[in-house]
Assembly symmetry: C2
Homo-oligomer: 431 residues x 2
């Protein structure tokens, strides 16, 4: 008997039919003799509807405690309805809020981090023979006893954290996509599903725009040595296994089932959600860059790629470019304008029509042919490169947004990732 944690996103439970379909899957898993813990997101557009309601009464961004109280109603609805649908199939189930399930967080409303997982009630419920259904995305601040939410992707994190705390055999992340693909099937129709990917590669893909798994959930799974199975709730196909470490015994066993000729390249990730800021005419003396990045850090702006180019106009001044999430653009510009006089740079340029493309694969650095092939493919596709960054297992470039799709297709083909079958795409991906 295994203990399995199954997480279902909002797209899997978008309506009553979806809830029933998920209930059947859960009950089948239980009927095969497994203990089952389910983590569920809010149904379909519930979260967006609740946000709309909040904006109708309030322009205030400071009501974060109340916004969390509001949004957590979404999972409360989905988990209770799912428990009822499971009862309808004759199986016992109990639903639990984040607080009841022991998801203890810090007090940062809207972006709370897990402090501790205390799943006493989940263990009791499983021991009593129940399927335990847990609200994703939410927790409780122990100090104030206030309800918190963990931000987008929080439900994946709930599932992985619950699986780790319960020492589950593995954690299944269900969405409307069959697994992890070599590229986004919406852009590259010949993209193919990976049977297995390492946690490290998945980390790079998630960090660089692959939306199927959130970075935080992959980090968590890797830290706790937890296997993830990323699959679709709309089909019975095997999905993609995300394996934390090849040295782990269980994992080694699973590796046996995977073809030996594992491709060097895992896939092509892309990201349209970034913007680029260029700080023009920075005095080229030590300490100025630190001041710029220090002030951005104080404002919690997440920088990604950073490039410093020596100015051709004047040897005394340089430009610094960096990328950041578009939704932090306003904050970053405000911070920079505030410190402009003090630091003495000349101007700020902002561009949110950029795209980022990343090629991810194990052993990339040790194979110098990869980067040559990569840049050649982009060049042949007529894609200009604006910024470059690399890691052990990744090369990323920034291009013009309107060239991103062509760039993704070109690189996907160049590395022989195209498959003969068309990928199945079911719809939008939930939280």
């Amino acid at each position: 008997m295994s203990l399995i944690v199954q997480k279902f996103g909002g797209s899997s439970v978008s309506d009553a039919e979806g809830v029933k379909r998920v209930a059947r899957r859960i009950v089948e898993t239980k009927a095969r003799g497994n203990d089952v813990v389910v983590v569920v997101s809010a149904m379909g557009d519930t979260t967006d509807d609740l946000l709309d309601l909040a904006h109708e009464v309030s322009s205030d961004r400071g009501s974060s405690r109340e916004l969390d109280m509001l949004l957590t109603a979404g999972e409360r609805i989905s988990m209770a309805v799912l428990a009822m649908a499971v009862h309808e199939l004759g199986a016992p189930a109990q639903s639990f809020t984040g607080s009841q399930a022991g998801m203890i967080t810090d007090g940062i409303h809207g972006a709370a981090r897990l402090v501790e997982v205390q799943p006493h009630r989940i263990r009791e419920s499983l021991a009593a023979g129940n399927i335990a259904i847990v609200a994703g995305f939410q927790g409780m601040n122990r100090q104030t006893r206030d309800i918190t939410t963990m931000g987008r992707g929080g439900s994946d994190t709930t599932a992985v954290a619950m699986a780790a705390a319960l020492n589950a055999d593995y954690c299944e992340i269900y969405s409307d996509v069959d697994g992890v693909f070599t590229a986004d099937p919406r852009i590259v129709s010949s993209a193919h599903k990976l049977n297995e990917v390492s946690s490290e590669e998945m980390l790079e893909m998630a960090a660089n725009g692959a939306k199927i798994l959130h970075l935080r959930c992959v980090e968590y799974a890797r830290r706790f040595n937890l296997k993830l199975h990323v699959r679709s709730s709309f089909s019975d196909l095997e999905g993609t296994w995300v394996i934390p470490s090849a040295t782990d015994a269980d994992s080694a066993e699973l590796m046996k089932e995977i073809p030996l000729e594992q491709p060097l390249i895992s896939g092509v990730a892309h990201d349209r959600s970034q913007a680029k800021i260029t700080v023009v005419g920075v005095p080229d003396v030590p300490g100025y860059a630190a001041k710029i990045f220090g002030s951005l850090n104080d404002a919690h702006v997440n920088l990604d790629m950073i490039v410093q180019n020596v100015s051709t106009k004047s040897a005394e001044r340089t430009h610094i470019s960096f990328t950041l999430p578009q939704d932090q653009g306003g904050t970053a510009l405000a911070v920079l304008r505030r410190v402009q006089q003090e630091i003495g740079f000349e101007d700020i340029e902002y561009d949110d029509s950029i795209g980022k493309l990343s090629l991810v694969g194990a052993g990339m650095k040790s194979n110098p042919g990869v980067s040559f092939q990569f840049f050649e493919a982009l060049s042949e596709a007529g894609v200009n490169i604006d910024m470059i960054s690399t890691s052990e297992i990744r090369i990323s470039v920034v291009t013009r947004a309107d060239l991103l799709d062509a760039a993704v297709r070109a690189v996907h083909t160049a590395f022989g990732l195209d498959s003969d079958d068309e990928a199945t795409v079911y719809g939008g991906t939930g939280r």
Copy 2:
């Protein structure tokens, strides 16, 4: 400075505009120097929508724990949105679930009774200068730590219980009606609002079909000697004060403001939600009635009026008629069929096309002219009377359902309750 508890029903917060209107009223009350605790129901049709969703996935009536979990999402939404709307007006507010507000109940899901109210967090929130907003209708079973709901009318009970526990000066119950009327203004357009009514009269009216206040809430207020102010959230008019006892000092002071010539008759209540069951041909020997009522009691059927008529066909057998809520009709019939053979009665008749009319007023029994006038009015209106029951301050009759409106109007007129002004009716009344 007073401490005031204000309760707003679903019709007062049916949409964002309603929420904003309620927020303005709350903030005004606070600005007048009062401490304010708000109890709020789910917005508009939310509860019914959630029930519909439950029925889409489940025919099971046994998921009562999960149904409570589901329904409590309704107040979670309204209270959080209301807190945001209050923030938007620049006033501090915090929302609290029933569990957070210390509403401790027993474990009867869907119809939980309050065991204890422990409003520590509400007191702390008030002391910190906040408006405290509490979810109506919901509580927590301390033994299992499961969420419970208190059934329809539960939000009124939450408000009154919270007011009693905090020793509030009074409790305002807001709905879409201006107060307690001498009859339902939807039926009797000349009905007029009462400025004051005693708890005892209000109890009789609530028990006999007046929907403006739930019996349970009136009982609770009376027990804790709490003044209620029943009024509309759509106007600034004074509503109806429900005064627990004339001997109370505060209340005596308030009585001074009320005209001395208080009418003998408070009003006419009516109820369409009852059904009548007649058990035909019961052996007329001691103990048989007890067996019938005992078995109905075991099945938690609430009987109201009971009449035993001697059968004309046979001196050895009698008929027993009683009224009960229509939604318990099926249960009662099943119970009776089960015991029919054992008790040996001949048949069961069921009639849900009945209406009940009650005339309520202080000192009714001591004024024999009242019942004469009452029956004369019904007779002149051509209304046949099926059953009669009386108390110190009430006469009730059962009539055919299609004659009920005419009967209510006739009695209202006969007792001089008609006013010259048309009553204002805003819409349906929320939970």
